[in-house]
Symmetry: D2
Subunit: 390 residues, 4 copies
Amino acid sequence: MDRLRFLTAGESHGPGLCGILEGIPAGLALSTEPIDSDLKRRQKGYGRGGRMKIESDRARIYSGVRYGLTLGSPICLLVENRDWQNWERGMSPLASDAGGIEPVVRPRPGHADLAGALKYGHQDVRNILERSSARETAMKVALGAVAKQLLLAVGIRVMSYVRAIGEAYTPLSALGGHDPTDLFRAAEESDVRCPDPSVSGLMRQAIDKAMKEGYSLGGTFEIVATGVPAGLGSHTHWDRRLNARLSYALAGIQAIKGVEVGLGFEMSRRPGNEVMDEIFHGAPGYFRKTNFGGGLEGGISNGMPIVLRAAMKPIPTLRRPLRSVHLQTHEAMEAAYERSDVCAVPAAGVIGEAMVALVLADALLEKFGGDSLDELKRNHHGYMEYLKSR
Amino acid sequence: MDRLRFLTAGESHGPGLCGILEGIPAGLALSTEPIDSDLKRRQKGYGRGGRMKIESDRARIYSGVRYGLTLGSPICLLVENRDWQNWERGMSPLASDAGGIEPVVRPRPGHADLAGALKYGHQDVRNILERSSARETAMKVALGAVAKQLLLAVGIRVMSYVRAIGEAYTPLSALGGHDPTDLFRAAEESDVRCPDPSVSGLMRQAIDKAMKEGYSLGGTFEIVATGVPAGLGSHTHWDRRLNARLSYALAGIQAIKGVEVGLGFEMSRRPGNEVMDEIFHGAPGYFRKTNFGGGLEGGISNGMPIVLRAAMKPIPTLRRPLRSVHLQTHEAMEAAYERSDVCAVPAAGVIGEAMVALVLADALLEKFGGDSLDELKRNHHGYMEYLKSR
Amino acid sequence: MDRLRFLTAGESHGPGLCGILEGIPAGLALSTEPIDSDLKRRQKGYGRGGRMKIESDRARIYSGVRYGLTLGSPICLLVENRDWQNWERGMSPLASDAGGIEPVVRPRPGHADLAGALKYGHQDVRNILERSSARETAMKVALGAVAKQLLLAVGIRVMSYVRAIGEAYTPLSALGGHDPTDLFRAAEESDVRCPDPSVSGLMRQAIDKAMKEGYSLGGTFEIVATGVPAGLGSHTHWDRRLNARLSYALAGIQAIKGVEVGLGFEMSRRPGNEVMDEIFHGAPGYFRKTNFGGGLEGGISNGMPIVLRAAMKPIPTLRRPLRSVHLQTHEAMEAAYERSDVCAVPAAGVIGEAMVALVLADALLEKFGGDSLDELKRNHHGYMEYLKSR
Amino acid sequence: MDRLRFLTAGESHGPGLCGILEGIPAGLALSTEPIDSDLKRRQKGYGRGGRMKIESDRARIYSGVRYGLTLGSPICLLVENRDWQNWERGMSPLASDAGGIEPVVRPRPGHADLAGALKYGHQDVRNILERSSARETAMKVALGAVAKQLLLAVGIRVMSYVRAIGEAYTPLSALGGHDPTDLFRAAEESDVRCPDPSVSGLMRQAIDKAMKEGYSLGGTFEIVATGVPAGLGSHTHWDRRLNARLSYALAGIQAIKGVEVGLGFEMSRRPGNEVMDEIFHGAPGYFRKTNFGGGLEGGISNGMPIVLRAAMKPIPTLRRPLRSVHLQTHEAMEAAYERSDVCAVPAAGVIGEAMVALVLADALLEKFGGDSLDELKRNHHGYMEYLKSR
């Protein structure tokens, strides 16, 4: 992420979240509407905890946009934490407020709690969990929504849907010949964001059971990007490979334990002759009849939809707590419990869209340059014309 | 990769490969021995093509080392291509040699060939395949061998073994309670680098069948790093997360289509209470009895062995060729054939070790700083003592 | 700037400025006091325009600090623009407010106005000048104040004073054997931030004259950092050289047209034997009796105070306007006039301190690592002890 | 330097120098001719030591070029050290050769020697001076020559000439209305690279005197880039400012103690109304009649020639040695002496060209993207047409 850079900041119960996105060209139409829409999509989903109702996130555009158009300067977004008033003392930046609330001293397995407390020298795990919390993903989503607007301007669309929650699994996939837009549309109408109505029911059942028995569930989601021209990314150096950059971004989301491109792990089990996307040429230029590779060959987009999958582990905060140890006394005790979701896979897909959009926007600007949307589009158009001549 | 940087260069049939590694502290013992040893490990493996016999790679230390110790200046390694003499005309940098050999005009599905030729505007696919070739991984391995020496100096060891080739699969894993060093030792004695002798046989059979029938096979390998203290990486920003950085590096290897950490995709299927690594404290400080998370929680190493898996697709070059199209005439034809391996998963594990070692060395230097090995060790030691006090 | 990263955002008449600083260790005492103090120092100075009275900047710590200590997570600071209420329409992000105020169509020579409008495709120069404005430097100062706190924790202090305003010039310099702390203290008591009382008078006279006659004045300031141990930066690669990184940061400040280290340009005029800092050894270890090099040799700090100078051009906005051209009609007209200062060199010194502090903090963390202040200090202490043994 | 990256490696008396340049588009004509030509220009100059005769550097293109055209893959260049055979033992990478020659134990003031030895923990200063040596600049020049070829393809030319050696100084400057190409052509015919024949004589005299009396001389050189369109760099963030990036690159050259843009320090002394480049519009679009700003306003190129100056300190190695201290015994002694030049300012200008070319090529690619020269030129052309419409 060089051409497009961003940093996020903010604790889960601090005043709010902040993000700065630097490198978006000038002249892009931008309002809070698509950002808030994605923030809302992130908050929905069967199996979310009570907090999702509290929040109803809304972004404030603090800089970088004037009269509905980006300026070319850094875009700063703010998203308030709605329950900040309840935490003003507990999360106060002032030394004089120290000890406003009880410290968290029973680190939760599966979270950054213990490793973070050791690394940063904290005695109160709250000093870690406030930042490692999935709350931060709201800002990822907000910034990703800006990147999506840029991509849309050149016909690139990033979508997601849930493939599995726990053991409930749908074979419906963009790889299987299904139109990604159809899958996406169906998923958007499901409260588990699964495009397969019959499996949606199984997923809800699994969540109900987990909720009742006090455990949590993970799952997998699929991200598809359509309209990506052949030629983003590069084979020339490992860190320029688009599949690697996309994997980095997805693996950088809280709770993600695996990422795959196209057929992914399944591809490693099948013979080579069955999983390569043969090359044809016709009216529209080069094309493929299959997409085992998920739109990426040799680290470069090949013009087919980009298809990625990520595995989210179950949220480690469980009502039925795990064994842990007191941070000062080393006594065995149950891990701390912070209000949490039973299943957040539907939301994770939305977060995944955001990260994928940010990486694709970076790769787009890397290839086409452009300081204004007009310039980007002119350069993109010139290349699309060239592609037709090949 | 900020504290430690590297670039590689070189075409598959050019004069050789070059790599520059910048940021290794001074005073580290370094010779070509461990580098050549890893280069050799990369060349072995049942199912490799004829080229592996030609090559027998050896590294030349071109800079950054004097009297067996690193200087602190950039380390440059060169690995000659042994058959360069046969390609001096075909890969000549001189304009006057243009057309020395026939251009490659039938792009191979699954390779960077077509997407690369479109992106970079080439009419001869050789201009892409020479760099996208897995030959480049020899330099990754060479530079990774240097990183391994640094890691060893603070007790960190990076190992790999093959988990699957095609459908032949071993359940033996560092996650399953097996000692990674034992698995590694067993794997090193197997020509498929599989620690499970019975499965090794199945793997060889699968390769024999593929060779006979003209197709190729992929597979999965597992990387384990032992001795990593709790506290590398960070939860504070997505791109500092160690799991994400490791995934980036593995996904940046040619032919890798999926990466997972710890239980990975399997973790997303199981209930939350079954896959968290509960926390205990005893004589050695904090410890876990399980390692579902693969040594990483919240993007930070937690002191358990780091365990990663990557999926390699079958090599797309097949003796039984795939359908393609002539790059100028657009006539349907069979894809080009370049000498290739039937299965390179054993080698891929060695390459994976290298990339993991480079990322861990970067994360180590990020946490501990240090311009000389003495300084790095002093800072590391101070932290290890502190850990004991927690 | 890799170990420590930051982005700033905000337009001059937007709601405010925002900055995110990522990489500060945990456990550093931080309040708004030192930040606001530096913000105030930036706003002072003889010759400032009316806006300085309006503003009276104060920082809000939005994230990264709890109970007076840094958390290790990104530190977000916000500084409101006090006259935002007057600009809510003119700088509105909403498309529906478009045209709320007259566009600026007469680009001002010497500013980013014209080049920026061409680059970003704007027809209204306000879309450029709002970001290129020196208003942004308030956030540089705020983030720099955080970096200063980190440096102070290991005994490093960054100070500045004005050496010249227009032709009024003081020979007093840290290079000339004067104690930098004395110079700094004297400068802080002067409203032109000049340590030389007699020259301060001349500077004020020059400003009075410029104000009366409707022109502006630039000048030079000197930055000194004391307590920097030998060994920050590196000779091994151009972009690791500390003098280059410091020059980058100072040259990145609005209106800076020149940067020099130690004797700088003067050093290029004198014979070699007169300008090298000979080496001695005594009770405190190695030392120098002179500091022509400004504390930097071969891109590495050498233990002497780091001394830099920067040249600020006169502010290009003049009451007596310059010739320009209408951006749409191309008619010759006078350049636009935005409220501005006559001389901002005293403030520029404070901004220079901030940028130098950010670079030194980055270099410090690069060498010593450390995720908590304790760890940083332990590593720093170990190195200082080692230095004594040399 | 993100879009274009490079690393250099190599010790002064090691086998040679290596550089990898990553990010140059495909299809650029490249041979060793322009590289060797610049390497030769770097080696010339009145006042150089004996080594310049030994060397006669020539570059080998090791990767990234085929049949006279760049491939888009990393370009690796090698430049052998011609006297390596004399140093095979003294600079051997083998532990068994340790102590092949006497260690250097009397650090030279003004060099990285002492600070480097302390930082990296070396007892033999040779371990520092081999890398800090100006020998490394040969690779900067070689890589810069590649960047120049890219720039030439879009009409950008980077030139330099010497403005001062010691106190001998010419007022001839691109800022003073002189055509930079004329100045450059005249400089190329002078063995001190000064465009002013009468001053050339004074410079030679100064060098003769210094040589006779055993001291060294520094000086200043000016770099001009013509053909740079308005719009490279950016005002939006400090590290995107083109003047800052150029200053970084020049300050990163060995022995540079100051950098200025346009009028630079002189600009800080004059009243604002005298030093702004007023804006006009005519047949060719916007233009200026003056160039006080050196082609850069608000961190963005404005279409005028870019003019920079750098100050080189006298080379610290003096035949008449400086006082130093034995690194082990701490006894006062004379500093070590390594064969050196009396004056290297003419060469420094050539090195400055290289660094400026690399930064401009990076900024060019950042704005225009482009993976092939055709694509870069198409995007560049589209923007130039747009500029005409403004």
